[in-house]
Subunit: 355 residues, 4 copies
């Protein structure tokens, strides 16, 4: 694969930092531009950022100037770690200006012509790009591709091997989510240390709606949403990273527990042949240990790109229960977007722009 120069929008936030961390040494993508809000713009990145990753800020990046988030960045594509409201105007502007925008923001996730992409699950949805007006007749214009909400990815990947084999009609979901999901500064220590907050604004709606689009069928340029009912309630707990998603689900086709378990255990990434740098061979890792998955033990599975699943059991109300764990800032955010960009690259949607 050739290499592409990438810009990062919202580079100083927690997801922006995760992009920088994950793109160090990436074989296909090289950071060429960092953009953030006006108050950071002009400063060296190392000064503008309040770095909260546990690996040190790479020296190469510390010296890069923070640029304004305007569509004249020197790069071939942009990753967006913007908040939802900023994303709406800024991502549009970049797409209009011809940039591929690979976004972690929620602004365009439910837009009918924007792929809401998990490459292992709905790789074909990427072709929605051709429906975007910015794409143009020559199929060389800009476009927007999104990844799901962090908890949605944990849910959809965790149940995907079951859904694929047996179908799922209904899911009751309860999440136990980490603090980094709220960005920086996010929650005050006094709010969450020793506490649980049983609501995360907007999260429940995303978990109830996004999976229907992701699991939908692309038919004649439109997505027919999956027919499924989802109920979600979200809890924030004093943990740094890692969202647990507790699911009770009803199958479409009845199945014995050994078969459900086998579906989880034997699932292999359909992308394996492409050798994408960030794609784990086993995006879903089933754990037998009766006390897992746990953030402390399992969050770094496949560098944070696999979800880990455990607690498979019969559900006395629906059919089965399980718990899925996702690294919310890697597979749930920056890593998801990078994998999307890798899929775009092998799908021929990326190209060099003039330097």
């Amino acid at each position: 694969m050739q290499t592409f120069r990438v810009g990062i929008l919202g580079a100083t936030g927690i997801v922006g930092q995760q992009f920088i961390t994950l793109l160090q040494d990436h074989p296909w993508f090289e950071i060429s531009a960092l953009a953030a809000s006006d108050k950071s713009s002009g400063k060296p990145y190392g000064e503008a950022v309040h770095w909260v990753q546990d690996s040190p800020l790479p020296a190469s990046v510390a010296e890069m100037p923070v640029l304004p988030a305007k569509p004249d960045l020197p790069c071939d594509l942009v990753f967006s770690a913007l908040g939802a409201s900023a994303a709406e105007t800024i991502e549009s502007a970049f797409a209009e200006a011809g940039y591929p925008v690979v976004s972690n923001a929620s602004a365009f996730r439910m837009d009918p012509v924007v792929p809401l992409l998990i490459p292992e699950v709905n790789p074909d949805h990427v072709d929605l790009i051709e429906k975007q007006h910015t794409r143009g007749e020559d199929k060389r214009g800009g476009f927007i591709v999104t990844n799901p909400n962090c908890s949605t990815i944990g849910l959809v990947l965790g149940i995907y091997p079951i859904w694929k084999r047996f179908g799922i009609r209904r899911m009751v979901v309860t999440t136990v989510q980490a603090v980094s999901g709220a960005g920086y500064p996010g929650l005050a220590a006094l709010q969450i240390m020793g506490n649980v907050i049983p609501n995360i604004s907007g999260e429940q709606e995303k978990i109830e709606n996004e999976p229907l689009k992701i699991l939908g069928k692309l038919v004649q340029g439109r997505i027919q949403p999956a027919r499924m009912q989802i109920s979600a309630q979200c809890n924030r707990v004093p943990v740094r990273d890692g969202h647990l998603v507790s699911v009770s689900l009803e199958l479409e086709t009845k199945a014995a527990v050994e078969d459900v378990r086998e579906a989880l255990e034997t699932f292999v990434s359909p992308l394996a042949e492409y050798e994408l740098p960030s794609a784990p061979k086993h995006p879903v890792v089933f754990l037998d240990d009766p006390f897992r998955p746990q953030p402390l033990k399992d969050l770094r599975t496949a560098g944070g790109m696999s979800v880990t699943v455990g607690q498979l059991a019969l559900c006395p109300v629906l059919h089965y229960r399980l718990v899925s764990l996702v690294h919310n800032t890697i597979r749930g955010a920056a890593g998801a977007a990078i994998l999307n960009a890798e899929w775009l690259a092998v799908s021929g949607y990326l190209q060099k722009r003039d330097a």
Copy 2:
């Protein structure tokens, strides 16, 4: 009410400590004996205990000798904070010896002749006592009364106003539970700090089974269990006190959300007329605030004896969702037992023994 002398079995554990804390200044009960395992026995309580309450160890109790847990304690009834396996033999021995045993242990909860009591919910179940063989023909012998598991109480009290008015057919339950529920020493700091553990041994079964007995009907000396399906999955989080119970439920009789809410808001303790010292007027407190209930803010409601309920919402899968919060060592353990004893007192089941 006359006063009764009470003994505490398992006095050095975390629930035993909570008994001591709550019984300070109790108008009806006076601590006259502390019993614990052989290794503590003989020492002054203040030496034997690793006190972890946030209020200081009462000086009066610090000097009391720890006695062996043998059925010759100088008291009129015993509270049991024993573990399940010790409880099985020791509680039996005390009942055989004529003591009322008011137990927080799980050993006898599902025994068909032992009341599993929440006085606001199933006060009449207390009469099961008469079926216990230790009670004797003169109805003056010993007996055992139990309170439910800490999460079960949070669940049952939290949904009780709805169950009573509309009936409930099915519940999908997910818990987010505090560390003190595991007793002392319980979890190692290295296990749980910054972590979530998605399983609590035996807890799921208790939550799925105990409510059926509690909400059952006492007919001709037998309990007909409630017909209801319950599914539970439990998570441990790094919080000191307070279990949250997230419930999705299906009503028997359909009801509008305003009516469900009104049932919660207007619920008043059916015990109000008895003026029990530990019984809150509102054992269920409904909170409108979209970010509650929270352990930090709500755990001390009515001194920890009320559950707080919030997050009432339509459930796209079953009918409604809500979250209930219980103080696990007060309403979920020692406080529950003390309230049970108060109900025994006004029900005429307690009497003075010779000193």
Copy 3:
């Protein structure tokens, strides 16, 4: 004692909330006005505040309107929980307008005519008030009285029995401080959960300077600072409340460890005869237990108004070491100011203003 109406400046912050909590049921002071910044002003207090105390917001206060912090509040004195920069102008304005200002802010602590008061330590310093130009010739005008920084109080009270008996020449101080000391929102959870931050802006200077004034002598209307060298380094840790102050000290007069210990153990408040509502009989409580003082066990001693001291040992470098623990928002802030106001009351410095 007659009752006085009190206003609270900066009522929505964390220290303001602590004032409200501690003044509930105060026998001498009644809250009659709550003032905060312009953005809160006009709202009911319950709406304007982000309440983070673990006891619930008192209903009476929730309905009170938040007033602008202008010197026309309906009260006889004001407590100030303002930040340092706001305090400089607002506290001056209130003093000019004739109000007694009992302040927790740092703005005027080192002003030569403003008492920096710990009533058990330097009760006579209160007479500096007469030197304030706002006091006027008729000795009826407004004035400002301050309490020390939260860590300073823990230090000064903890070593005071030793200082009084043997004198102290030098102290090396290292603190381990709780998150609530930074106010709300204060530190982000992502900054401090699982972390230690080895610096607290401005804190070290306060600990090195304030004790010299507090322990100084009032001679002819001027304070001669104590001659003592203090070195301080401060650490923030993920604990909600409670500052520990580790001290190594050099005596002026040599003393055996039993004598130093006896000085600590036998210290009784010199204010005992005045029966001030917030003054503990033992403002310094010495603990023998080799693993104390601890925030979890000792913070609530005397309702948070006593410091607890332990770890007394020979120091191989200076003479002795010890650790003192202070409840930073009670004895270290709001409780300190309330005790100051009580001392002003018995000293005749408070009077009713026209309603």
Copy 4:
């Protein structure tokens, strides 16, 4: 360098786990034997261990059988992660049997013929080995080498560049220490979550004594301890890894702050020429940032093998203050022992034993 087969004594504990983690992919040492107490012995390691590292248990090791800690292990040297009392007999037995014992235990640290080694500081002390009776006349027998206590290393390395250049007469030390220092299970979550414990058994004595030996001079086969006074007080805080050591020190030779700072900034490992796999080029990293060192940001410097130092300031009592941070299970334990073994290897003290 040839490769050596290594055994690990106390392999299931937290330091034993850290040995396993750090020895994965070590170019000189290959794990050939895991030993632990009798209750683990015979099981596969993966079953016997309660793994608490955040990287997963290596599959190769999971299958290895746990052997009894008897001196017939198939290896060329042993690393000891034993507790002090077990170490006394077991380490002796291994040395008697001809094994080099590279120990993290405290049992023999102060033994006059046992090196207490930090290779960057006192590399020549390794020659004490020749004084050990087990070494034998042919200089081919077993021996014991130890590394210091985890906090001692943080202290000694952090101040070493200053000590070397200017000398140090006295140090007042206060530590803020992580939970992993107490091993597993170590502290109960209920003891330390949201709390500080101001004492760590035995730790203060180690910090006061061990540096004198480490910084002592080896003269004619004996160590003349450094002349220095050290005073230490230790605090445990709810942090997983990382000990901070706050030091106030008095120089032997007066020096300006820029010179002290330059000593810290320019310090380079005297071992650089040997290219030891675990030896960082900069074992002391000086940080300018006014809010560092912090465990969250700095613990992984040089893979946890460098200490980070900051907060350099004039001390009003002695001469200077600073704060040093050490990764307690890496540079403070397993990593320290591995570096010691590397130094033994290049010093010719290791040799292949018959397989």
